[in-house]
């Protein structure tokens, strides 16, 4: 069976208030990926356009974006799984190429969130949960993840300071990433300084500094068959393992609040398909929409035993020089989180790391990388394992 790889990656800068329309925003990530793959639009057989639709006035963005990017008359369609949309897009592109239906597929992710206020945006994101039974109580994403933080702290002794350490690491690398929204240094002391905005309460025990920011951004991945990549003279980063799972949208259907079942299930599938174990992962990108999410991810992915995630951040094992570097591009906490573009940005980082092209953020000689991308409050979980 022939392999499927990624031959091009790109992303826009993640910003507040992108001065352009969604098609222009999507162009930015697309342009980079096309230049990276050294191909032209006629080489692309199909496109998958990924975002969360509630932020746009445009209905069915796929046709509009495909036209603007020069990808008509090839087939195009829209794919949505909230914040994990582009990782799910990669899974679909893999299937389309692996089946022989297409040779090269572009996965385009985008989100322009800045046209609505932060509170409105929280309300829309809250509606990514159960609108019939939960949203009428006034739910929002930080509050849901706060319930996981509360349960994790109570059961395992994870502390507010541990959460702050995650943000401190994020900022260490966010400062190096010229695509990131937040590029200032962060110290753990900011979280205990009542005058500092980072310590502002959002939903107990989470504070402003524990939450990632809304952003506008786009990303693009170019997926190709082994034969096509060879014909183009490209050296792809291979897709070695794919895992995906879903869970009850309503919290009343969850069996655990100290981890995300979808991440556990998706990673198990991806490890099995790739024939590797957590110990084989040299660099990882995890979905740190909140600081607690990164600690949950350490445990759900098997980098740490349940309850031991805090030890990884305390001992700095997830820093660039550590045994399992995580989010050395700043993660969602520093880059910002333009929903539909996020997975593509995470995958871009791992592709660059595996190629040795990550600049100041480069981890020493990685061979296998992992991307953990979550949609909603552990509603969708997508794990991708990539290798040289």
């Amino acid at each position: 069976m022939s392999k499927v790889g990624i031959i091009g990656v790109g992303q826009s800068r993640f910003v507040r208030g992108y001065p352009g329309s969604i098609r222009e925003l999507a162009f930015e990530g697309f342009k980079e990926a096309m230049q990276d793959a050294q191909i032209t639009v006629t080489d692309i057989d199909a496109s998958i356009i990924c975002s969360a639709p509630e932020y746009d006035k445009q209905r069915s963005p796929s046709g509009v974006l495909a036209e603007y990017l020069g990808l008509i008359p090839q087939p195009t369609f829209y794919l949505e799984s909230l914040c994990s949309s582009t990782s799910m897009g990669l899974r679909m592109a893999y299937s389309m190429v692996k089946s022989g239906l297409h040779d090269i597929v572009a996965v385009v992710g985008f989100q322009k969130m800045s046209e609505i206020s932060s509170a409105e945006s929280q309300e829309r994101m809250g509606r990514g949960a159960d609108i019939q039974w939960e949203s009428p109580f006034g739910t929002m994403m930080p509050a849901y993840y706060a319930m996981f933080a509360q349960a994790h702290m109570e059961k395992y002794g994870t502390t507010p300071e541990d959460l702050a350490f995650v943000r401190v690491k994020s900022a260490t690398y966010g400062q190096l990433n010229d695509k990131a929204l937040y590029r200032k240094p962060v110290g753990a002391e900011m979280f205990t300084d009542p005058e500092h905005f980072m310590s502002g309460p959002v939903s107990s025990p989470l504070r402003v500094g524990d939450c990632c920011a809304n952003a506008d951004g786009s990303s693009c991945l170019v997926v190709a068959s082994e034969e096509k990549a060879k014909a183009l003279g490209q050296k792809p980063v291979w897709i070695l393992g794919l895992g995906a799972a879903s869970a009850s949208v309503n919290m009343s259907g969850r069996d655990q609040f100290t981890g995300l079942a979808v991440a556990q299930q998706a990673s198990e599938q991806a490890y099995k398909m790739a024939g590797v174990t957590p110990k084989d992962i040299d660099v990882a990108e995890v979905h740190d929409c909140f600081t607690i999410s990164e600690i949950l991810a350490y445990e759900d992915l098997g980098f740490a035993e349940p309850g031991e995630g805090k030890e990884l951040i305390r001992s700095k094992k997830t820093y660039k020089e550590g045994s399992i570097p995580v989010n050395v591009d700043g993660g969602l906490l520093s880059k910002g989180h333009p929903i539909g573009a996020t997975g593509g940005s995470q995958i871009r980082t791992i592709v660059q790391e595996l190629r040795g092209e990550a600049g100041e953020m480069q981890v020493k000689d990685p061979e296998i990388g992992l991307v953990h991308n979550i949609g909603g409050v552990g509603l969708y979980g997508v794990v991708t394992i990539l290798g040289r």
Binding site: A119, W133, P136, M140, Y144, F148, Q150, S203, S204, S252
Partner: protein
């Protein structure tokens, strides 16, 4: 629209929560029960599965053969969070909690009464679920100390 036509639409679910996003559902009786002070779930009469939140259709049996049951007794507090910032439309409710109770056969997601002292909350503590009328005359339910 004529008065008669309006009455044909059973949109009782508009009354659920501070702000409802659903008007028509096959479990609209949930609202009528709330008005009577009862918080209800459903049970499949064919396989016995208990549903909270209630549903009118059983995915296992593929039937609509369900009966209502009342959420009674106490559940254990599994987790909670106190919101200091609210989404649009919920600002007047601040501060408020969201929480999950485990009743064994099912779990209930909802709110703890807003004035409950956070220091007295303990995971594992027994709480009960009670019907509640909000200041804007909408209906929901709250968790209280058992």
């Amino acid at each position: 629209m004529s008065e008669k036509k309006k009455k044909e639409i059973d949109d009782r679910f508009n009354k659920f929560g501070t702000k409802s996003y659903t008007s028509v559902t096959k479990v609209n009786d949930f609202i009528t029960y709330l008005e009577e002070g009862k918080v209800m779930g459903t049970r499949c009469l064919d396989c016995g599965l208990m549903f909270f939140p209630p549903r009118a259709q059983c995915y296992k049996c593929l039937t609509s053969n369900v009966e209502w049951f009342e959420v009674v007794g106490t559940g254990k507090l599994i987790t909670y969070s106190k919101l200091k910032y609210a989404p649009t439309g919920f600002e007047d409710d601040l501060p408020y909690y969201i929480a999950v109770l485990n009743y064994g056969d099912y779990k209930v997601f909802g709110r703890i009464a807003g004035d409950f002292p956070e220091a007295e909350l303990e995971l594992g503590m027994a709480m009960k679920t009670v019907a509640n009328t909000l200041p804007n005359r909408q209906l929901n339910y709250l968790f209280e100390k058992a």
